[in-house]
Symmetry: C2
Subunit: 210 residues, 2 copies
Amino acid sequence: MNIPDKVVNRLTLYHYILEDLREDEDYISSMKIAELLNIDNSQVRKDIKYLDNSGKCRVGYDAKKLKRAIEVKLGFEKTKDAFIIGAGNLGSALAKYDSFKDYGLNILAMFDNDPQKIGSNINGKEIFDITKIGNLAKRLNVDIAILTVPKNSAKGIAQYIAGAGIKYIWNFTPCVLDVPKDVKVWNENLIGSFLQFTNKDEVKENKNDN
Amino acid sequence: MNIPDKVVNRLTLYHYILEDLREDEDYISSMKIAELLNIDNSQVRKDIKYLDNSGKCRVGYDAKKLKRAIEVKLGFEKTKDAFIIGAGNLGSALAKYDSFKDYGLNILAMFDNDPQKIGSNINGKEIFDITKIGNLAKRLNVDIAILTVPKNSAKGIAQYIAGAGIKYIWNFTPCVLDVPKDVKVWNENLIGSFLQFTNKDEVKENKNDN
């Protein structure tokens, strides 16, 4: 069964909550989850219905079972290997984001074109020359790349790595990439999500400089 | 009219495309936008209907008018001031992300608790001691904070800045924050979006280490 995007997103948040429970908290109610996320209780219960063996019982959900059910359904144990392209601040931050591993994202290596960076490593991930990506993608059987290069080189680099065998690009740059149709681009559109939030919540604007 | 989240997100991507057009490209078709994003042409036309004065004409959309219509509708010129909490790699990357300014997000300052960082600046944004946030939020009339601190201090810091007058937290940490109800948390759930993508596209998993 295909789970809607927003449900996947919320189930991940429920998992964060379950991870943070104290050892002696064996059960959790949908109400508690709903309160922490400021959403409807009925929404939480509906989302959990997508899971198998959610651990629902009289006193709430069995926390361990619910956690496990989310892990199985969303495939946390199906490890996907990926490269980071661009060893700048954002690339380095993502390389240091150890939580990724727990959720099935395994970053194997990084790529850059800066001779100063090539050969060093960040959080145990070696930085290779970008021209080595085709070879390494093939040898390590990696087809996912996380793109964190500067805006003005994003399109060129995307085409280059697509030519080198990358099939999925998780794109953190504020650019629409133009790659062959067999390459999937996942846009992590930070500006888009900021605008979603501010439009919905009608955040006050700064009147001083308008 | 309230614009659905996904439409806001796509309109931002259309804006990226329009920004990248050559000077002599006066018109753009919905088909071209659809092709670049690998979505339906009808979807693009539907999204653009949310805009006023989209510049639609016989030969496509007037690129400048369409770009302008997106800017007006999504409020790119309604500047929202914000602080970054946590001057690590991710915080630094966001501080250097100059595109934010073009879309209405103005980062005024950063906060950290590391004496080595306090007093220095990143991309012109000074790093202040976290204990100064209440005072500065009040003086500068800022109620948005971008949270990029390590996972294990996220909850404590979120409560602290909520107590200091922050009303909106754009949360980049893999944690569900527990803050008073009058504080809105916008979860930038990176792991959630990765799982959305990989679940939908059925990315191959690495069989070696399972």
